[in-house]
Symmetry: C2
DNA sequence: CAGCATCCCCTAAGATACTG
DNA sequence: CAGTATCTTAGGGGATGCTG
């Protein structure tokens, strides 16, 4: 089954979409993107919906253009919800959808795998001083 | 713990590596790559080691340069093993390492997630005729 | 057989300035 | 506050031909 094309049906018209070789790639395409897993983690840990700037402030090094782009793609893929409150000035909230939440077990598996397999030769942390044990990292959960 | 730098120790020297924000990205970096999941699936399903050309022949549309590149990265990350048999002409085998095998549960989760969430609006297959049911796809396993 | 060597291309990503 | 609008860049990916 690895050769699959699919198209989205958008009301009347058909929108051609990229081709995926298998279901794995379809899922990967949803979480691939420089900041998507970070965004998911932040939203998850925050528990409540987050405003655009509030969320962006938590992500060091991201530019507004890319941030917006990632959000748009994630909304299109149905893993986050964008909700506009008509206050003045307007307030736009983002939060994980049910589908977004359903990614968390996978992300946890990935985190555990990464911890066990890729960080064995990790020797330096940002602060340049402390090197947390793997267990410390582990109990901190996602991200 | 999302701000992490790490470096590889290669004998005496230190090799600077890309920076990952969290363990998730570290794991993702191993399976990201246009053909890596496909290669893993092929090796897994084949059961036995596969030769370079034998494996490449099973991957429609890949070019030798990219194929070699993906293999090299996967070998560097320790998820496949490259074994050279000194026959004439030489024979090079590739197979999944223990670490590579340990990715399979994650890939299966991704496949299931993709099947459930991304293929609901799939309407067209390569042959342009049959549209297998999700159950058909599911029982075909990985890829 | 198992790959390099070259060349090209496209797109994700980033920097920065501006706005309804 | 929540984004656009422009411009630029890096590098992952691809095509094709050649070789120890």
């Amino acid at each position: 089954m690895d050769i699959i094309k699919y198209v989205h049906l958008d009301g009347q018209s058909m929108i051609s979409e990229p081709r995926y070789d298998c279901a794995i790639d379809a899922a990967m395409s949803v979480i691939e993107g420089r900041w998507k897993t970070v965004i998911i983690c932040k939203l998850y840990r925050n528990g409540a919906p987050m405003r655009y700037n509030q969320l962006m402030a938590q992500i060091e090094g991201i530019s507004p253009r890319i941030f917006t782009l990632q959000l748009k793609e994630m909304e299109r893929d149905g893993i986050i919800v964008r909700n506009v409150r008509s206050t003045k000035p307007k307030c736009v909230e983002y939060y994980l959808s049910e589908r977004g939440f359903s990614l968390l077990p996978i992300l946890k598996s990935l985190a555990e795998w990464g911890l066990k397999n890729m960080f064995s030769n990790m020797v330096e942390f940002d602060d340049g001083i402390t090197v947390p044990s793997k267990d410390d990292l582990k109990e901190s959960g996602l991200c």
